[in-house]
Symmetry: C2
Subunit: 247 residues, 2 copies
Amino acid sequence: MTANKSGTLYGVGLGPGDPELLTLKAARILQNASVVAHFRKKGRPGHAWTIAMAHVNARATEAAFEYPVTTEIDFRDDAYVDAIRAFYCESAKTIMQHLADGSDVALLCEGDPFFYGSFLHMYDRIRETYPIRVIPGITGMSGCWTAAAAPITYGDDVLTVLPGTLDRTALATHLKNADAAVIMKVGQNLNKIRLALTDAGRVTDAIYVERGTMQGERVVPLAKLDDCAVPYFSIILLPGGRGRRIA
Amino acid sequence: MTANKSGTLYGVGLGPGDPELLTLKAARILQNASVVAHFRKKGRPGHAWTIAMAHVNARATEAAFEYPVTTEIDFRDDAYVDAIRAFYCESAKTIMQHLADGSDVALLCEGDPFFYGSFLHMYDRIRETYPIRVIPGITGMSGCWTAAAAPITYGDDVLTVLPGTLDRTALATHLKNADAAVIMKVGQNLNKIRLALTDAGRVTDAIYVERGTMQGERVVPLAKLDDCAVPYFSIILLPGGRGRRIA
């Protein structure tokens, strides 16, 4: 009797949403993995799964982890933190069981796994026990500035990436000090972000992007956006150009 | 006699260097383009070409534009700016001639075309005259943090991307205000960057990465790097983690 060789966890970056923006490497890993794991909202096929499914091996086992809560509870609430922590812990256990059985597991990651990825919740729990390989992907923000036909940085521009969850003063300070900026997680923070951009004197240059590179893609100058509510994963871009020295 | 239909310029992001990190879309565009253009140093096959060549159609015409100067002249010198401006102007003319002839042109871009891309010198000169489509790519920095197994941002981290050409005070100020940072264009700026990281109290967390995802890849904690000279395109990473709330 020989000891089982354990499997490898692959964190597979899927890019910004257009399935053709998968890398050749991601496609190869998906074709070979015996287990394909992903996170999704309850009762949905899952966004990551939709991007990747054309490349998943028909004989692969699907492991879908459904978020117990999304926006029903405030994310600063302890109950949210407890629920989500237990969920990530259980998901990591399931993945590790497959790895212990000798199966390679491909965990689907929208965007780039090491850039604000929920993959990191698995990475931090598993990396000391099993081998992990990460396949980078095109970030969502890169998909958005491409969709907006808005070069984000030239030459010596400084770029700052800001979560929309920061407070108005912090946002405005960062926006004043950067040549270019990307504000993520807009959703319920839209009004605050607009005020911070106004404080920083830069609201007229801002571009709102929703579903960049995907069906339903929408690009609107922020000054012309009059929606009352926008999705959490929408992005606001403030393109640079100070570094554009050689005209 | 009918008027020629003009071609389309494709700015094709090639990703960080590993040819398998090309997207499916980039591979398709390269297979179909009748002209493949790229920039390179004099007398070299060209880095972009090396990444892409497996996907270029054998019947495609290669248009290689060779930089007239690289580091022989200081980039702040007027002579450098004049020489490089004339070079970009001539290169754009050549591309536009192919487009006028009805050929689609794929212009190779390392990394992501809209993120500090030299592609932008062509984009700004051609976009009002001919149709342009941009294919995003994985950025070089994303390749570097993947190579370093260093998640760059968690949760609510602020990320700042800094050109190493900034002065020491500006670098230190930005480094103090960000949770995570990426410093590009290290090269001759290495010593200054090290001092700025020390000023900001963050030199022990910094990671030096050279040729991320490519042959000859090298990852070294900055504190242990004792090279006198490093390549221009090397990167220094300062990983985040303040946003790592759900442990």
